[in-house]
Amino acid sequence: MKPVLIAALLAGTAAHAQDFNAVEKGRKLAITADCAACHTGDAGEFAGGVPLETPFGTLVGSNITPDQATGIGRWTKEEFRRAVKSGKAADGHLLYPAMPYTDYANMTDADVDAIFDYLQTVPAVHNEVEENQLPFPLNMRVALYGWNLVNQTDATYETNPDKSEEWNKGRYIVMGPGHCAACHSPRNLTGGEKTGDDFLTGATLENWHAPDITADPRLGVGGWSEDEIIAYLKTGHNAYDTASGPMAEEVALSSSKWSDGDLASVAAYLKEGEVDAPASAKAPDPLDAQSASMQAGAAIYGDRCSACHAADGEGVAGLYPKLSGAPLVMADDPTSLGRVVLAGSQAGATAAAPTGPVMPSFGATLDNAQVAAVLDYIRNSWGNAAPAVDTGDMASLRKDLQTQ
């Protein structure tokens, strides 16, 4: 990265010395916004081509290098701003909402401009991308006019003067460039993010459940210390949880590279939560420990799970997630739990925490009822309480995962 920047500066063409700060700011923001996740594939940095599975079909990230023909080399700042914040490309076509522009709409124009300045300094790559691989009629972009009518809030982000500067900064990152709601907020029937009381209360996408990250002490991250939130974002794990799947990738590409200041702000905001957030829902009663499912789950857990997660569900800090008291374990939706038991999972590795431990797949050993049983057990032991897991749900999850 650095040599490219320096070369660009020395050439004195694309950027002037006074632009350096804007470009560097843009580089950092591009990391926070995780642009690379969708726009960096085999063709080169930001050259597009990364397929994104959506409930409606496959979308492919576009080329955002400064290539004149296939990238954004001919775009103006204003056009870029409109694409990022309103979902309209330079030629006027509407972007699919896999591009989280409803979140990016919360960003300041100055921040979006900085990303634009930065993208103009990366190497141009000629790479034609067919973004739209949706089946008919979803491939009709005209449908998006309706979608935007329902879902685009045209947000004008405002700071809250009653809250600290730290909280406000964290909230800006979460709601803007960090686009946390893209995964962690439930979606309405058209796929738009729900807001208000539903904001950040968790959602299931691509057979991963992105858990509640509100300040709810039981189901959200309110029970975590700020240090634990920071550790999770920076390294991909803390005592309770190990990032896997999409979150592992987010940590590796994005939040592990955030500044300590940004991490502290986000932690302060998430820990304290949104103003007027709904009160924590009452915990359900745990399942009867004598039930057949709980009994089978206890036996399976003791024989196979306790060697890592420990008999008391405490796990091993930073290595094997703590199951006791863990919000993700008690989330109403057990999709992520079922997924990691069935298919296994590889924790994201970072330079600071390079281990990347693999949760082994139990799909060949446990049938669907046994998966449900062991999940019932971990969700209703050691003080945990959560609704029973449905065997049929595990059966369809298995089928989905195996045919994907």
């Binding site: 996740a37 969708c38 085999d42 990364v50 397929p51 994104l52 599975e53 990230g61 691509e206 799947g245 999409p246 592992a248 990738e249 987010e250 057949a292 499912s293 009994q295 089978a296 036996a299 399976i300 003791g302 024989d303 196979r304 306790s306 060697a307 008999a311 069935l342 298919a343 296994g344 999972s345 590889q346 590795a349 990347g356 693999v358 082994p360 797949s361 799909g363 060949a364 050993t365 446990l366 049938d367 009822a369 046994q370 449900a372 049983a373 065997t391 995962l401 195996q402 045919t403 994907q404």
Partner: protein, 249 residues
Amino acid sequence: MSLKPPLLTRRRLLASAAAGLSLISTGAYARVLDGTAPWQPFAANPPEQGWTGTWRFFNEAEARTIGAMADRMIPADDLSVSGREAGCAEFIDGQLAGSYGTGEKLYMQGPFKEGTPEQGDQLPWTMAERYRMGLASLSEYCRKTYSNEFADLDGETQDEVLSGLETGDIALSPIPSKTLFSDILNNVMEGFFADPLYGGNRDMASWKMLGFPGARYDYRPYLMKYNEKLDLEPVSMAGRAAWQTEATQ
């Protein structure tokens, strides 16, 4: 083949999940690795298949002979069922039908010479060949000596034959009787004591007999129980009865 797996990304993870159906493991082919250590959903390295439910190596007569031998080597009594009842013949069939039988993992290049006892087994035949030829010559011996197959002899006579093989007093060819006996005894014991996954040790009979708790993986709760008999229910790699739920088929 040198194949370079791409960095696994959030988006590509989904596209590659279909490949999870084909098992990746230590991999038989050369790979170039850098970046993230390779992993895919459902990745596993399952054991080689043993007994599959049908005879794949033994013919009926051979299976009867091995079963009869297992009955004498591990007789039924108050301690356990017999070796045959525990599935030792089925176990051995599964082994001989696989890489153990073919010897494909062993150095089988010549010249083959009889060395010193310290130089170990130098016979030029795979385990499958040893069983086939050895059981044929045993059958010939029994028919010649007793006008009967081994499996049809009375128990006492069967023991005599086994002892004769064990000491080498009964001469067989080309597989030496002592070799045939020790191979069979070795495999019968493997079948009796291995995980039931491989077709022997039915109902974990031998593990219950010994008090071996099987494929457990966490003894921390029992570590300090010095000089106490634990009587833990054994666990197979396939689980145990307590894993069954009402819904489990």
